[in-house]
Structure formats: C-alpha cells, structure tokens
C-alpha cells in the first residue's frame, strides 16, 4: 500500500468512511477493521470459528484467503492457534461468539493467551443477551467479569459500530491481549461520532452534569444518554460516561465523577457482579466511597425472548436508569 498517513501520523484508512458509517452493527464494523488492519500490516491474520459471515469477512476471505484461518467449530483449538501464531510475530484476531469464545476456550484463553501475554485480539460477537431468544447457552452476561480477571487483558465494550471501528484499530498499539465485546445481527443506535477521538482506557464524557453520573457501556450507553436528556427537563444534570474500556478502568474519570457529582449509577448488559459496576464499586469503595446503584442482570440465567423485551424484563434500559438516578437523588 502507499505510505500516506493522516494528520495524526497514522496510516490512512483504505476503508471508505461511508462503509464504516453504513455498518450500523458492531460485529460488521469489527470485520471491516480486521480487513483494514490486515491491509496495513501483513502480520495480521483472522481466525474464524465458523464465524466468517457473522463478521462480514467473506470479502476479506476472497481477497486474502491465506490470511484467514478457519478453525471450525472448535474454540479451544482456535484460541491455542492464536496464541502460538502470536509467538511467531503474527497479529492474530479471533472472531468468535461471545458465549463460546470465552467459556468454551477459557483455559486456552487464560494460559496460552493471558498468562503467556500474547498479542491476540478477541472479537466476541453476540455479547450480553443479543441472542436472548436462543436461551441461556447463548447468552454472555459473565464475559466481562471473566475477562476483567485476566491479568494482561484489555477489555473493551464499544458503544456502537463506529466506536467498534476505532477500538479495533487501536489494538494495533497494544502489546498484550485484548477482548472486544460486540453486538449481534441488529442495528445499534449511533451514540458516537465517526471522527470522535478514541483512546483505550479513557472514558468519553457524552453528557455534562454535576448532580449525578451514569457510567455505562455498550448497549446501555444510548439509554443513559436518553436518561440524561429526560432529566435535564427536570433540572437534574446527569453526567454520562461511556466507559468503553472496562480494563484498564479510567480511574480519573470515575473518581472525578464521584467527587463532582456525589452519586453514581452503573449500567451494563451483564450481571451486576464483576463487570463494569463491579469495577467501579471496587475503585470507589477503596478510594472515594460514593452512593451507587447498579443496573444489570441479577444472579440468574436470563429468560428467553426478544432482546428488547428481555432487556426490559431485567430493567436494563432508560426507565431503570432514570429510576435509579431519581432514587439516588432523593
């Protein structure tokens, strides 16, 4: 490719902006980024676990068949392959289903990838209850807790397809493993701008406010913004932090929010134990004890149903976030 760079000195993207904007689904934006990363760096290769179309990788497969390894429905082997490949200087990107690429291959992920500290990027589609209708076997509402407990691991939950593109591109700079949780086969609302500055480990403050802060990630960012907009009419200033990086947590942003707003609501499509809420609570308990409410799944396996209804069933949405804010403000 040509050596053109953008104004930040980064290689210029060959992926048209309209294509990223049109993606609308984080799994597809991630697939576009995989192809772009592979164009930039001949060491980048994709590993599929029968997930080529889930990630929109068929054009990449046709253009660069030697750069896509199909591991089949065999996540343990896929994860071990990625680790071994990384030791040779390659930059493997595993494309898997969140419920399977985490727990089915967990020992390979822990030992071969995290313990050996290899540069493996794990794209995990259908995180949370994206596949709510599929039943508990296909839900991933403990993945963040698991990944957050892996030393060396970076854990990212992009808020939308655009941010997914930036997050995937940012993994170029990482020296260790990274887990990126993605959505499924329905459009995700845009909550970030395509030209927004993205940095791993730095929260985006999407809404200003000094009365209370909502710290959200992934699918719960858009409802958090909606809460802030609604409560603004009542004169309540709700700060919204898009905490796209669960690990390393943006401690400064959390502590500033605690000091400046005095109350925190966390919101995630995950069990309330061990994920974003857990990370925030652990920090605040030791550094800046602050009243909190945590929006997320309880300690149970989710019911079956359409994702939107199951989200409502477990109060993972604007209404619950708003209620939690009002409750804390009383």
């Amino acid at each position: 490719m040509t050596s053109t760079t953008d104004k930040a000195g980064q290689p210029k993207s060959e992926t048209p902006e309209w294509e990223i904007k049109a993606a609308k689904q984080s799994r597809l934006a991630f697939g576009l980024a995989v192809a772009e990363l592979a164009r930039r760096d001949e060491k980048v290769a994709a590993i599929s676990a029968d997930t080529i179309d889930l990630f929109g990788l068929r054009p990449f497969l046709e253009a660069s068949p030697e750069r896509l390894i199909e591991a089949g429905i065999a996540e343990q082997n896929a994860m071990g392959i990625a680790a071994g490949m990384a030791t040779t200087g390659m930059r493997p990107i595993i494309c898997g289903y969140a419920p399977f690429i985490t727990t089915r291959s967990l020992e390979q992920l822990r030992n071969d990838v995290a313990y050996a500290n290899q540069r493996v990027v794990i794209g995990a589609a259908c995180g949370g209850i994206v596949l709510a209708m599929a039943g508990g076997t296909h839900h991933a509402v403990e993945d963040l807790a698991i990944m957050r407990n892996m030393p060396n691991m970076t854990v990212i939950v992009p808020a939308d397809a655009r941010q997914t593109w930036h997050a995937a591109m940012a993994t170029e700079q990482l020296d260790g493993p990274c887990y990126i949780r993605l959505g499924g086969k329905f459009d995700e609302p845009d909550v970030t701008e395509l030209d927004a500055d993205f940095r791993i480990g730095r929260a985006d403050q999407l809404r200003n406010g000094d009365d209370i802060t909502v710290i959200a990630c992934g699918a719960l960012v858009a409802p958090a913004v909606a809460t802030s907009q609604a409560l603004a009419h009542d004169g309540i200033g709700v700060r919204v932090l898009n905490m796209h990086t669960i690990k390393p947590l943006d401690r400064d942003a959390v502590l500033a929010a605690a000091v400046e707003t005095g109350a925190i609501v966390t919101a995630e499509e995950h069990r309330v134990t061990g994920g974003l809420g857990g990370a925030v609570a652990e920090l605040l308990a030791t550094e800046q004890p602050t009243p909190m409410r945590m929006i997320g799944m309880p300690d149970e396996f989710a019911i079956v149903g359409p994702t939107a209804q199951v989200r409502e069933h477990y109060a993972m949405g604007e209404g619950a976030i708003t209620d939690a804010c009002r409750d804390l403000m009383r």
Binding site: A45, N77, G80, D112
Partner: protein
C-alpha cells in the same frame, strides 16, 4: 554403521544421561517432582536439542529458530535440564526448582530463555504448535515446530480438535512426538482411559505416523531425520517409552509419576544412572 555415526549416538546418549541426572538433581533440591515423565522424555529431548532442532541458544529469540513446545509441561525438570545443557540458562538455575521467585517452577514459563510457551494445563501444546506452524507458513519461513505430548494428556479432547485441524491444514512443518510411557498420575493409561488403537486414530485423522522405541537413540535419530514423513501432512512419532527410565525403582510405576526425593533416593538414582563422560 560409521564410527562417526556411532560417536554421535554415544554423544546423545551421554547428553540424555546428563539430563536424567539433572532431573533428579532438580527434584532432590525441590524435595519432590515429576521424575517419571521427565525421565521417559530424556532421550528424545537430547536428540531434539543436540541433533534435530535448528537453534541458537545464544540468541533464543532468533526468529527463524525451530520451535519446541513441551505440552506435557509437568516434565519441565527435563526441559530445564536440557536447556541448561544446551546453554540457554545457567546450570545454577537447576538448583532453583520450585524456589521462591524462581523462573524454574513445576511447569514451563515462556519468560525463561528457550521456553516457547507456558504449559502445564494439559491438551494445549498441539494447538499452540499449529499456530506456530501457521506463523511459519504465513511469513514464508522455513522453521519447523515440534510438540511433545504425554499419553495421559491425549485424553483431553482439545488434542483431537488440533489433530483434525493440523491435517486439514496440511501442516507438514509440524511434528508431534507422543511420549508413550503408558502411565498417568493414578495408574496405567490403558486401564484408566485407553488410547488404543492410537496409531490408527491419528492415521485416520490424516497424520503420517511412525512408531519407535523412544529409548533407542538410533531409532529416535532416524525418525527425526526422516521428517516430514509426508509432503502435505503433519507427522506423528509414537515413541514407546518407560516411565522413570533409568532408575529401577521408579520405572514403570505410577507411584513415581510425582514423588518425594530424599537424600537416599537421590543417591540411589545417581548411582543407577551412572556417571556421564
């Protein structure tokens, strides 16, 4: 058989004797350890590191080096002894087995010079080796990858995912050596969860397979020299070995898979292994 060849075999047998003695030395220092599977692997490790593998111990990260993964990570005493013998690590490290803040624990650590992957959880090495072999292919490099797996380890299903994939991918630059000492932690493999007919299984998966006596140095060398066994398939060497090889009371006994090493045991082991030249 030329005298040069015989001298080579004698030299490798002497290396294996050094490795076995140093295994017992490391275990004696630690108080206990996995002598059984370390001793069964010693002849093969000697042939790999002092005959077969293309390595630069003074430049352990040389990008074109051949890769060796000890999937049966509990034989790390033997790997450490081999790496010390080859000059990757200082001989004094062997006296730090299990020690506080040591780089030389029960299982291999990728941070130690010459160790290609942290192993110990069983059934991981083959997949990692496939990744290394693919890394060579994708970067148009000639290095070869060799993975040693244990027999009990083959009970882990991940191996069979890897066996299927390596053959499907036609990885002739990948070799697996099965250290078939017939014993695992709690008993005989054949009685606990039998692998047989293990050759037929791997052949059916698409591997080119040879069986050897893993303690006959000429046989080990000849098998390694014949790699790859097929132009477009991965190779498997089934090495029939004896757990605890070289020390009578430890041989062929699951009690010595992992056991305590007292001063008396250590002296007896060294006297049976004999002085290396």
């Amino acid at each position: 058989m030329s005298s040069n060849y015989q001298a080579k075999i004698d030299g490798l047998e002497n290396v294996a004797r050094h490795i076995r003695r140093n295994v017992w030395r490391a275990l004696h220092g630690a108080g206990s350890g996995h002598m059984g599977g370390s001793s069964s692997a010693a002849d093969i490790l000697a042939a790999l590191y002092f005959h077969h593998l293309n390595l630069r111990p003074d430049d352990p990260d040389w990008s074109d080096r051949d890769r060796f993964v000890l999937s049966k990570g509990h034989a790390n005493a033997a790997l450490g002894a081999t790496l010390a013998q080859a000059g990757y690590i200082d001989d004094s490290v062997l006296d730090q087995f299990y020690a506080y803040q040591s780089s030389f624990g029960m299982h291999p650590d990728i941070k130690m010079a010459g160790v290609e992957m942290s192993t110990g959880g069983l059934g991981h090495g083959l997949s990692v080796g496939i990744g290394m072999a693919l890394g060579a292919r994708m970067q148009a490099k000639d290095f070869r990858t060799c993975v040693m797996i244990g027999d009990g380890e083959l009970q882990e299903g991940s191996n069979w995912e890897g066996a299927m994939a390596a053959a499907h991918l036609g990885l002739s630059n990948l070799t697996v050596i099965l250290d078939y000492n017939k014993i695992q932690q709690s008993g005989h493999v054949g009685q606990m969860l039998d692998l047989e007919p293990v050759l037929d299984k791997w052949a059916a998966f698409g591997w080119a397979v040879r069986e050897i006596d893993g303690h006959n140095m000429s046989a080990v060398v000849e098998a390694l020299d014949a790699l790859p066994f097929a132009a477009a398939a991965p190779s498997l060497i089934i090495a029939h070995t004896i757990k605890g090889k070289g020390v009578s009371f430890a041989e062929d006994s699951f009690l010595w898979h992992n056991n305590a090493v007292t001063d008396e045991v250590y002296e007896q082991a060294l006297s049976e292994l004999g002085e290396p030249s």
